[in-house]
């Protein structure tokens, strides 16, 4: 027996698919949305549609971007010879907030995790390799998360990149082990960037 009208149930199901939203929260958000005025609700729907229509991946670094290049790649004051590799756009935001880094980024869009069916081919690894020569990249800083998947991804990239004669560094520990970059405070993350070290084999 269905408890809710099917349109409400559809809404709950869609919300429940969002990261970090369990069935209970999905229900709560759905009923909140239903209570909104039609204008308020449509504004949210429009914001989603517009963001979806306008935003794509930066063709260079795979950050989210409204144009061909993201704001960082389009800014020619940034140092093209140093690239910080992160898993997700939100990690890029965390590093930007430290104001310690003036180079460019490369967003992998994930980390190696065979359990989830994610290998190097599912990530933007080849795209990183093709950037090295033309952009004159001399140093790659591996800023993946300090958990098993992030560490494995960093080591994988290290083994690919080091033979190319680049300096390859890993952000220093000091970050909580098993944690997420996203949650590290700016000071800790800033120090971790400063104290980066050359990656081991």
């Amino acid at each position: 027996m269905a408890i809710y009208a099917s349109s409400v149930q559809d809404l709950i199901d869609e919300l429940g698919r969002l990261p970090g939203v369990g069935p209970k929260s999905a229900q709560r958000i759905a009923f909140h949305l239903l209570k909104l005025s039609r204008d308020d609700a449509l504004r949210l729907a429009r914001a989603i549609t517009e963001a979806k229509d306008r935003v794509a991946w930066c063709s260079r670094c795979f950050n989210i971007s409204e144009g061909e290049l993201c704001g960082i790649c389009a800014d020619d004051r940034r140092d093209a010879t140093v690239v910080c590799v992160v898993e997700e756009p939100r990690d890029l935001v965390a590093v930007e907030k430290t104001q310690e880094f003036r180079g460019r980024y490369h967003v992998l869009q994930g980390a190696i995790s065979p359990i989830e069916g994610v290998g190097p081919d599912q990530l933007r690894v080849k795209e990183l390799l093709t950037r090295i020569e033309p952009e004159g990249i001399a140093e790659v800083i591996l800023c993946t998360n300090p958990n098993i998947e992030g560490e494995a991804t960093a080591m994988y990239l290290g083994r690919l990149l080091k033979p190319l004669g680049l300096r390859v560094t890993r952000i220093a520990s000091g970050l909580p082990v098993g944690g997420d970059l996203e949650y590290a405070d700016e000071l800790t993350l800033g120090r971790a960037l400063e104290g980066r070290r050359d990656i081991e084999g």
Binding site: P114, I115, G119, I148, A152, M155, Y156, R159, V177, G178
Partner: protein, 359 residues
């Protein structure tokens, strides 16, 4: 270390409970199936964030409730500690110390220590290698919470490696080969570290184990415990290289700390296959007692002892021997029957259909 008071909300069969414990011996009595073990399990949960019965979190939440709370007021070196663990059905567990939320629930580990004695401890001697690995690794976590990270890293790496081997389907593309190299490097580091920790632990346990056995068995016997993994000599990295073809073919990790055993022997004979049931029971008790002693010495304060219905399985002689082998410290003991002669409880808790009442 003392646990002074315990509050439960929707834990197992308890809608709510508020229990004061004695500094010495507290005895939990009541008919079977009324919640004696559940009460001890709650104390164990506060210490280890796991059920000593091996039950998943969801089984610990009262049927019909969507969360449970275990709260304990402990005292350590004169300092009061309010420990709280919240269990959420199908969700993330949370913990607090002195009302400060912890970033990760597992940061609660180490605040309270327990030593659990239960009838199925016999499996330590009679059961498979997994029982003895768990025994060693639990003891390591009790000695230092950082071992918890080591253990969960090992677990995670192995699961990733298995998934990768399955995906490979016996064939190595350059991407898969390099990915496997990377996971092997991680596995080797964690494996070598865990093996070294286990070896160090066994070295500390051995002398204590022999004496504990003699006390419990009331007999002199040469007890040995040997942890000597086949891969240790050349390190796990080399062993993984040697095993790679096999691992690829079978899509499992055939060698490593997750396959090791602790070889127990009494009088030179393997305890699992050659010892009598009585000797096996004595050895199981001795194994528990010796970890308790080593952890007490290491942390400077004895863990709270949880004795769940152990006397029901022991003959009067061994009961008496155990009772007299128990070190000083706080003890919580459950029994459906009579107390063994010589036990002097400071407090008796009567459990009845999910309620607790002090005598």
């Amino acid at each position: 270390m003392r646990l002074r008071r315990l509050w439960l909300t929707d834990f197992r069969g308890y809608p709510s409970a508020d229990v004061t414990l004695d500094d010495g011996l507290t005895v939990v009595v009541g008919p079977n199936g009324h919640g004696k073990t559940n009460l001890l399990e709650a104390v164990g949960y506060l210490a280890t964030l796991a059920s000593f019965r091996g039950a998943p979190t969801d089984a610990l939440i009262r049927v019909g409730a969507d969360r449970a709370v275990v709260r304990g007021e402990a005292e350590r070196e004169g300092r009061a500690l309010l420990l709280e663990a919240e269990l959420v059905a199908g969700g993330r567990n949370r913990a607090q110390i002195n009302r400060q939320p912890l970033r990760r629930a597992r940061d609660l580990l180490g605040a309270l220590q327990v030593s659990v004695f239960a009838p199925d401890d016999l499996a330590l001697v009679k059961g498979g290698p997994a029982e003895r690995r768990t025994y060693l690794d639990d003891a390591l976590v009790a000695l230092h919470p950082r071992h918890d990270q080591l253990r969960s890293d090992l677990d995670k790496i192995l699961r990733q490696r298995t998934a990768l081997l399955k995906q490979a389907g016996g064939r190595l593309t350059p991407e898969i080969e390099l990915t496997l190299d990377v996971f092997d490097a991680k596995l080797a580091r964690v494996g070598d570290e865990l093996a070294a920790a286990r070896r160090g632990l066994v070295d500390r346990l051995l002398p204590v184990l022999g004496r504990a056995y003699d006390r419990v068995a009331r007999a002199q016997a040469e007890v040995t415990a040997v942890y000597d993994p086949p891969w240790a000599a050349d390190g796990l990295a080399a062993a993984l290289v040697a095993a790679r073809r096999d691992d690829l073919r079978r899509a499992v990790t055939t060698i490593g700390p997750h396959r090791d055993d602790l070889d127990l022997a009494i009088g030179g004979l393997p305890a699992r296959t050659h010892a009598s049931q009585g000797e096996q029971r004595s050895l199981a008790l001795a194994l528990r007692l010796s970890v308790h002693e080593v952890v007490s010495e290491h942390t400077g304060t004895p863990p709270v002892m949880l004795l769940d219905d152990v006397f029901s399985e022991l003959d009067p002689d061994r009961s008496d021997a155990l009772l007299h082998s128990l070190p000083a410290g706080q003890t919580l003991l459950s029994t459906a029957g009579a107390l063994p002669a010589g036990a002097v409880p400071g407090r008796v808790l009567r459990v009845h259909e999910g309620t607790v009442r002090a005598d």
